[in-house]
Amino acid sequence: MAKDRAGLLRLTAERIDFEAAFQALQSPDCGAQIHFHGVVRNNNQGKAVSAVVYEAFEPLALEVLKQLEDAALELGGPLCRIAIIHRTGRLEVGEISTFIGVAAPHRDECYKVSRFLLEELKRRLPIWKKEEYLDGQSAWLEGVELEPGV
């Protein structure tokens, strides 16, 4: 079955363009949408966080996003639409770092695909996060080893 590739997959150093994301999710076939926002939190593991710096390896990240979209359409069906936008650069507490939007004919596929995309993104997207703390220190966060063959 042909895959609908009308989704929006993007890394950006600018504020997330929600209008573009919502536009990409529009479909008369879809009766449900879920919008997930990842937000920079003010604390992590007992330390007061002031900001987070995101770094990405874009060529691979964009390839991984395409693969995630393919997998999402396999999981949720060909009528699903996907929008994933991940910020890069320095974000203050409260800023939105990640947008995952899913549109599907029914809510069950929406919830399933949204959760799948978030977990896979954390495991596979070549992005690194450095936390800056109120005490002036900073640290790169531990992550998940990338699997070969992407």
Binding site: E55, F57, L121, R123, L125, W128, V144, E145, L146, V150
Partner: protein
């Protein structure tokens, strides 16, 4: 005059601070191909002595090597003269 070839490996995340501008240059003598595993060992030999108090070896061993839109297998043979990227464990979101 002998031509000196150089392998250029760009570093990301926590690895970036190990080299100026996050770029390691290793002279290539002899063959221009090696395995991912061998290149990682070469990087550890080059960088660990410069940072004896940091677990550089562990971080490099846990990192993946990519030429762009693909992550290489550990035992894969790679061309050292292509752009290479060393990617530590990831944590997006």
């Amino acid at each position: 005059m002998a031509l000196v070839m150089v392998a250029r490996i760009k570093l990301y995340g926590a690895l970036r601070a190990l080299a100026q501008d996050g770029l390691v240059e290793l002279p290539v003598t002899g063959q221009t191909e090696t395995t991912v595993m061998a290149l990682k060992q070469q990087l550890i030999a080059d960088l660990q002595p410069k940072y004896p108090n940091q677990p550089v070896d562990e971080l490099i061993e846990r990192s993946a090597l990519s030429s762009g839109a693909r992550v290489f297998q550990q035992h894969e043979t790679i061309d050292l003269l292509q752009p290479l990227h060393l990617l530590p464990p990831v944590c997006g979101g």
